[in-house]
């Protein structure tokens, strides 16, 4: 089980704004940390990955402005290993699935959260997640 997969599960099962925000924050951060080492100019995915990393950082930063984000992590850092020889196609597919779920869960919270600042943070982070998805499946700007 990869770390991305673990985070997907956590985000999927999160209940309430605080839990979703906490999982989303960690998911963006994890995406950033797995994308950075793979930004290889010799790889055809270099450009989408550089831009996806910027969007992941953007999503994470947006969530830090949400008042309902717990000041401390609700879960310890994930321990699963990211296979270094993972196939590029499988890797981007996994990230695309996670970013799609992120966009969906954050949009839900943006609609349901009572706090305006939570709503704004979730909307901004959902946009970043959508950008990542579009870049990775090849329909981005």
């Amino acid at each position: 089980v990869t770390r991305i997969h673990q985070l997907h599960e956590r985000l999927h099962s999160a209940v309430g704004p605080a839990a979703v925000l906490d999982a989303a924050h960690d998911a963006f951060e994890e995406m950033l940390s797995v994308i950075r080492p793979r930004e290889d100019p010799a790889d055809g995915l270099f450009i989408p990955l550089v831009m996806a990393a910027a969007s992941a950082a953007e999503g994470r930063n947006a969530i830090t402005f949400a008042p309902s984000l717990p000041p401390r992590r609700l879960h310890p850092a994930t321990t699963a290993q990211e296979p270094s020889d993972a196939n590029a196609k499988a890797f981007t597919a996994e990230l695309a699935v996670l970013s799609e779920l992120l966009a969906s869960r954050l949009t839900d919270v943006a609609h349901s959260a009572p706090d305006n600042d939570d709503q704004a943070a979730c909307r901004a982070a959902a946009r970043s997640a959508s950008d990542i998805y579009a870049l990775l499946i090849g329909s981005g700007p």
């Binding site: 055809g44 450009i47 950082a57 590029a88 579009a134 090849g138």
Partner: protein, 617 residues
């Protein structure tokens, strides 16, 4: 693509209005009223004086130096100012000068001069758009071009243009002054005053010629002057996939120029603007990483296209530029990684420059890759443009586009540093406390970024800036070799640099050559005797040559005599010297053809003992 107005449009218009072949103002040979011409000449002289006033900021403390200590061009600027003051002294310059006469003039020359004044006023307005009044009343630079405009290179080029216009106006004005028109209400005094005004315009021309003889300007200086654009950004424009290579090059260069313009204001806004955010910083760093990557791909294609068995000089220059672009990409990427560790007090909004860095990604991508609909999401299937798809004639334009892009990446790196430094001073660069270890118990989500972290971030931008500069330097060489249009960028940088290290003896521009027309020393029109012979219908070459010899001899006699006068001896006023039409014609001819020495007819020449000493090598 819409082109921005340049200073050249207006200076060219001024020359065009004076061209005898231009007939919209009436036939060139038609005479007019000296009084009316004088009224129109006031407008021209007034705006020329304003140009000269503007120049005093370039030659620092120009009015306080004894003339002998000044460089040739600074001295020419002072003498030109004095000549214009004397010129204006013969015209009625009281009261405000309107931009345009209330009633159109009747005389063709007056109409020409009114149009010249209008062009010069608009040209000066264009230059002024690069400056604004500061809080404390001083002038502030509002664009990167402001440094070029105040450079000694541009001042010299502007003086040369002013001299050229003055020479033409003097000739045409003196024609009206010395030719009585039947039925004209002109009195002799008005004609003498107009003639004296024109004589001082010849003096201005002679002063500039003298400076040019000592320190020649190059044609490239004039090109740079004429290329100065109005200070508005080119309009935003995105490719739609139908563009030719030429259109892609134009779009890329225009977008790069637009971004440089937007980056200029960004630092000023950093202290307070909510758009100065980590979002902006990410966007610039990520987009510039990709733009550098696209540039490397494009430059390798160009290097392959220009490779020749007999000479691969350009190809080697382009390969060096591609290598520098690769390093720049690595450094921008490192910068993006460094931003991962910081945050700002605002989020989501972006500065105008950052909002459009993606445009440059798109333009460079469309140039670099074969797919005309390329986007950053195109993925692993993207292939670079084939070298054979570029026609040899397109190579300079592609080099120019890449040259503009690298200059923009340099400017953006500098702007980002200025913004971050300003924002850090205002306490706006933060770190998340969530990212800190549990040992820290800070009851807020953010804390001010430690100084070391800000400095580390700035060092990444500095490295990216230096590397972008390296790409620009390599491309400047390739642009020079291939005569790419972006050579002006190099000329602009050289102009600014030459002013920064400016000393009179260091002002000479390398590889300068004298433009045949703008620096022509003598007026090639016939003198009074030869002209009279022509009016008589004489066509025998030997007789005309005798007339020309007599004209030349009389001019030389007058000039030699004027130069031998005692330094303390007062010169008569120009109107006294030209009291009769005959003597005025002879003096005019001497001023027109006599070069710098002819100035002695109206003004005391500088004493030899006051010449500046030669500097030790």
């Amino acid at each position: 693509m819409m082109r921005r107005a340049t200073f050249g449009d207006f200076i060219q218009a001024a020359h065009w209005h004076l061209d005898p072949a231009t007939t919209i103002h009436g036939p060139a040979a038609a005479r007019g009223s000296a009084e009316e011409v004088s009224r129109s000449l006031v407008r021209v002289v007034t705006v020329l004086r304003r140009y000269l006033q503007d120049m005093t900021t370039t030659f620092n403390n120009v009015s306080t130096h004894p003339q002998a200590e000044l460089g040739s061009w600074a001295r020419a600027a002072i003498e030109a100012r004095e000549a214009l003051r004397n010129s204006a002294g013969f015209l009625n310059t009281h009261g405000a000068v309107s931009r345009w006469p209330a009633i159109p003039a009747a005389s063709p020359l007056a109409r020409r001069l009114d149009s010249v004044a209008e062009s010069l006023i608009t040209g000066r307005d264009l230059l002024q758009t690069h400056f604004s009044l500061g809080v404390y009343g001083g002038w502030q630079h509002r664009s990167e071009w402001a440094f070029v405009i105040t450079s000694s290179t541009i001042t010299r080029a502007l003086l040369t243009e002013i001299a050229s216009l003055s020479r033409t106006i003097a000739r045409q004005g003196a024609d009206v002054a010395l030719t009585g028109v039947s039925g004209s209400r002109d009195n002799a005094e008005a004609r003498r005053a107009l003639n004296a005004t024109c004589q001082w315009l010849w003096v201005l021309n002679a002063s500039v010629q003298a400076a040019h003889q000592r320190e020649p300007t190059s044609a490239a200086d004039g090109e740079l002057l004429r290329a100065i654009p109005v200070n508005i950004p080119p309009p935003r424009h995105l490719p739609d996939g139908s563009e030719s290579v030429t259109a892609l090059c134009e779009g890329t260069a225009a977008t790069a120029q637009r971004l440089r313009h937007l980056a200029w204001d960004a630092a000023e806004q950093a202290r307070w603007a909510s758009e100065m955010s980590v979002t902006s910083m990410y966007q610039v760093a990520a987009d510039n990483t990709v733009t550098s990557h696209n540039c490397e791909v494009l430059l390798r294609t160009l290097a392959a296209r220009t490779k020749r068995p007999e000479s691969d000089h350009v190809s080697a220059q382009l390969s060096a530029a591609a290598d520098a672009a690769r390093r720049t990409r690595e450094l921008w990427l490192r910068t993006a990684h460094a931003i991962d560790d910081i945050n700002t007090d605002t989020h989501g909004q972006v500065l105008p420059a950052a909002a459009e860095t993606r445009d440059l990604v798109l333009w460079t991508g469309r140039l670099a890759y074969a797919d005309p609909d390329w986007t950053p999401a195109s993925g692993p299937t993207q292939t670079a443009r084939r070298p054979e798809s570029l026609a040899p004639a397109q190579v300079p334009s592609v080099i120019a586009a890449a040259h503009h892009v690298s200059a923009t990446l340099t400017r953006l790196a500098r702007a980002e540093q200025e913004q971050i430094r300003t924002a850090a001073q205002a306490g706006r660069i933060l770190v998340t406390t969530r990212s800190l270890s549990d040992e820290f118990d800070i009851p807020r989500p953010f804390a001010r970024a430690p100084r070391a972290r800000v400095e580390l971030l700035l060092s990444h931008y500095r490295d990216a800036e230096r590397s972008s500069q390296q790409v620009t330097a390599e491309l400047a060489r390739a642009a020079e070799t291939t005569s790419a249009p972006s050579r002006l960028l190099t000329a602009a940088v050289a102009a600014v640099n030459s002013s920064q290290v400016c000393a009179p003896e260091k002002d000479k521009m390398p590889n300068g050559f004298v433009g045949a027309d703008t620096h022509r020393e003598a007026d090639d029109r016939p003198g009074p005797v030869e002209r009279t012979l022509l009016h008589l219908g004489v066509s025998r070459p030997d007789v005309l040559q005798r007339g020309a010899d007599i004209d030349e001899a009389s001019s030389r006699l007058l000039i030699d005599a004027a130069n031998e006068l005692e330094p303390g001896q007062r010169r008569p006023r120009a109107t006294m010297l030209s009291r009769s039409a005959g003597s005025a014609e002879v003096v005019n001819h001497a001023l027109a053809v006599g070069g710098p020495r002819a100035v002695a007819l109206l003004r005391r020449p500088p004493s030899p003992e006051r010449e500046s000493p030669e500097h030790e090598p």
